[in-house]
């Protein structure tokens, strides 16, 4: 059992926000999904105050050892989320983490208020890092602003606050440290790297213009950022970015993460989380034996 901000988790592998929709997956894979649920906690896709349709298609581009997405945070808004999704997620039997994004501090305040008396929500992840929405980036990339935001939000909730940092910054350690000073209970990283692709005729391919790079291509960047954050903060770290094997997960844990999140690899293998957590357990057992 792992103690993550007071939440007990069966193993260190969770999903990355926006990379696993349990409702859709259940429709595809039936009860087997629940019986063999691959993650020790379930992180929701980013929820905003008002519903969002997301970006116009095309939303995907396959790149060298990775992909670029410009999904644009489609979600039913906090009300729709609470009314339609949360009850379903609760059936999973694992702790739930709700990922939220506001474009102003006031929006974050309202999001936290809406979640506060929902006991199904074990923790809240603050997305201050989405490269597709200008505001998320700006707050997350500026240490001072990030600290002020956390100082404002921290007193408003009993639930642990996880800050999802932006990787598109000069000094991610400084941002993590600012989040910690502001009262964050944990940090998670990395989100996607700002990226772009052109289609036919040299026009931007993605409907959203640019997007975010994920997958093995960013793995080594994630490792460096997690390592530098670990040198700066004492709060738990959720490491992610290109994890596709137990060895990748072990590397993130080695440099200081407490949990590991799997995003893109779940697209290639829906049960990747379970495979990675099994590989990780095997690696630990081998090391313990030697």
């Amino acid at each position: 059992m792992i103690d993550f901000c007071g939440i007990e988790l069966a193993h260190p592998v969770i999903n990355a926000s926006g990379c696993f929709d349990v409702l859709a997956a259940r429709a595809c894979f039936g009860e087997e999904l629940i019986e063999r649920f691959p993650f020790s906690a379930y992180v929701s896709k980013t929820v905003t105050l008002a519903p969002r349709a997301g970006n116009p298609p095309p939303r995907l581009w396959e790149s060298a050892a990775g992909m670029i997405n410009s999904i644009g945070l489609p979600n039913p808004g906090i009300e729709g989320y609470l009314d339609e999704h949360l009850g379903e997620y609760a059936k999973l039997g694992v702790p739930l983490i709700t990922n939220v994004m506001g474009s102003t501090a006031a929006e974050f305040v309202a999001l936290l208020a809406a979640l506060e008396d929902r006991s199904e929500v074990a923790a809240i992840e603050l997305n201050v890092s989405c490269p597709n929405v200008a505001t998320g980036l700006d707050i997350g990339a500026d240490p001072r602003g990030l600290r002020l935001l956390l100082e404002e939000l921290r007193p408003l909730t009993q639930k642990p606050l996880i800050v999802k940092l932006t990787p598109n910054t000069a000094d991610v350690g400084a941002c993590a440290s600012a989040a910690e000073e502001g009262g964050a209970d944990a940090v998670s990283l990395i989100n996607t790297l700002r990226a772009m692709a052109l289609g036919y005729g040299g026009k931007p391919w993605l409907g959203g213009g640019s997007g975010g790079l994920s997958g093995p291509a960013i793995r080594a960047v994630a490792l460096a950022q997690v390592a530098s954050v670990a040198e700066r903060v004492a709060i738990p770290i959720v490491g992610m970015g290109g994890v596709s094997s137990g060895a990748d997960a072990a590397a993130l844990l080695e440099v200081g993460a407490l949990l590991v999140a799997v995003g893109t690899e779940s697209f290639r293998d829906p049960a990747a989380g379970a495979r990675i957590s099994a590989e990780l357990a095997r690696l630990f057992a081998e090391n313990a034996g030697s």
Partner: protein, 252 residues
């Protein structure tokens, strides 16, 4: 009926060339697919290292037939690094399989005649449809290298862009003739975007129902990434879980 959770390894049991296409048969004893459903496929070995260091993600490929027992077949055309690698696979090679996925075609009601209108590599769902529920197949191909795809159908009517086989012109010429004859038709379409749009317009014009099997770049195939959306009257819909077969009436 749901798909097994996760990606499984399946063995290619046969590889047959059908003109420019490749038909792979794969051993699999999971739930059989319904017409219009698809799988996410990848080669187990060497998935990557092609053009632009791709493929990386699995590729959505329609079920062609659940031939005999514990088999699923696919029809492939080499159009890029992913299909190229899949087309290379030989009997005995391993493949990753997720599926069957998505919502397939709804069969016609009694008294309705199913018109199956397919273009190019879009024919697999229709071949499976015809096997299950019958229907009259109108097929369009680019040329004589691709027209052998028609051999997957009973009594197909064929058009080719270059006139090398069957009618010289678009498959919609065949459709317009049939629609002109009158009858209680339902259209079932699968093929390139231009063909699907032509079917949507004809369905509207003739007041007939049409079910269209759509395509979009997909990362996951099971609703996880929200990448494969198409605009509908009810907002963006994920083709992989709300489709790939959608009623033409909801498309905008």
């Amino acid at each position: 009926m749901s798909a097994p959770f996760g990606r499984r390894v399946a063995v290619v049991v046969s590889r047959v060339e059908l003109g420019a296409y490749v038909v792979l048969e794969v051993a699999d004893d999971a739930t059989p697919a319904a017409p219009g459903q698809f799988y996410m496929l990848a080669a187990v070995e060497r998935w990557g290292g092609g053009e632009d260091e791709r493929p990386f993600l699995g590729r959505a490929i329609s079920a062609l037939a659940a031939r005999g027992e514990r088999r699923v077949a696919f029809l492939l055309e080499d159009v890029g690094p992913g299909t190229r690698r899949l087309c290379e696979l030989e009997a005995g090679d391993d493949m990753y399989l997720v599926g069957p996925l998505g919502r397939g075609f709804v069969p016609p009601e009694d008294g309705q005649e199913a018109l199956l209108v397919g273009g190019g590599v879009g024919i697999p769902p229709l071949a499976m449809f015809q096997e299950a529920w019958g229907g009259r197949a109108l097929l369009g191909f680019r040329d004589a290298q691709r027209a052998p795809g028609a051999s997957l159908f009973d009594n197909p009517e064929v058009a080719t862009d270059d006139g090398s086989v069957g009618h010289h012109g678009p498959v919609t010429d065949l459709l317009d003739r049939v629609l002109g004859e009158g009858g209680e038709f339902v259209l079932y379409g699968c093929g390139p975007p231009g063909l699907l749009e032509a079917l949507r317009v004809r369905a509207l014009r003739h007041g007939v129902a049409a079910q269209l099997c759509l395509e979009a770049p997909m990362a996951c195939g099971f609703g996880a990434c929200y990448g494969c959306v198409v605009e509908t009257t009810e907002g963006y819909k994920r083709i992989c879980v709300d489709g790939p077969v959608l009623d033409a009436a909801v498309l905008v």
